[in-house]
C-alpha cells in the first residue's frame, strides 16, 4: 500500500524509486526531502488526481482516504430529508388498517470534516 495516498494495489513496493501510479510519489526520492504526510497534503490540495494513465474502475480518491481513516479536506453537512405525509390506509370500504404518520422532516446524518 502506498503510504502517501493509501492506494492498495501498487504493482511494486513503495521503495527503491518505484512510483505510485495513483499519487505519483517516487519512493526514496520524493520522500527523501518530504514526509509522507506532506506529500499527501500536496496531492490532496492538488485535487487528488490519478497520476499514471487511466484510473481503475470505481477508483475514488476520497473513498480511498476515508478507508484509510484520513480526514477529508472538505466539509459538508448532509441531512436526510423526506416528504411529510399523513393519511389513512383503508381496504375495501372504510375499514381502517393503519395510519401513516408525518416524518420528522429531516434528520442529521453527520458531518464529513
Amino acid at each position: 500500500m502506498c503510504p502517501v495516498c493509501f492506494y492498495d494495489k501498487m504493482p511494486d513496493p513503495p521503495v527503491d524509486y518505484n512510483i505510485c501510479p495513483c499519487c505519483g510519489t517516487e519512493f526514496e526520492h520524493d520522500d527523501e526531502v518530504r514526509t509522507h504526510e506532506q506529500l499527501r497534503d500536496y496531492w490532496v490540495s492538488s485535487g487528488a488526481k490519478w497520476f499514471f494513465r487511466e484510473p481503475p474502475l470505481f477508483w475514488n480518491p476520497w473513498q480511498q482516504l476515508v478507508a484509510a481513516g484520513v480526514q477529508l479536506p472538505y466539509v459538508a453537512t448532509v441531512t436526510f430529508a423526506g416528504t411529510s405525509t399523513f393519511g389513512k390506509v383503508t381496504a375495501g370500504g372504510d375499514e381502517f388498517i393503519a395510519s401513516v404518520y408525518p416524518t420528522t422532516g429531516e434528520e442529521v446524518l453527520g458531518i464529513a470534516a
Partner: protein, 151 residues
Amino acid sequence: MPTLKIIAACERVLFDQEGPVSVVNIFQRMNVQLQAAPLPDKAVFQSLWSVFTLWENDPKEVGQEFTQVIQVFAPDGSLFVENEWSFKNTDADSTQFKIRARFPTLPIWAEGDVIVRVRLKNIDAEQGSFRFAIRYLPRGEDAKPIEPTKA
C-alpha cells in the same frame, strides 16, 4: 428466475435473528450543505448506507445459484460503485431471499439523482431500480445542529 419484490436504499437494515427484517430511513432526498469552498471532483460523504433487496424464489429453481448485481450511479450519471452478491434457494418451502448490500460513502460531488440499479448477472435485463436526490443547500439555509459521523 427469482423476482425482485423490493428494492430500497436506506440508512440501515436490521436483520432479526428470527428472520424478520427492518428497513430504517428509506432515502428520498439528501440535503448537502457546503461549509466552505465548493466540493472537489468525486467528493463523497462518509456515511454507511445500504441497499435492501427482497427476491421471491421460484420453487422449481431450488439449488440454482443467482448473482445479484447492484450498480450505483452518481448524480452526474457516472457509475460510482458496483456490488455483487450470490444467493441460492436451498429449500423449496423458502419463498424469499433478502439481501443487504452496504456502502461506506455517498456520491455528493454533483446535484441530481443517485440511481441504484439491480439486475441478475448473466441475465441481460434490469430487475429494478431506486433513486434518491442529492440537493445542495446554500450556506445558512435549513441549518441544523451538527453531529459527528457515525461509521
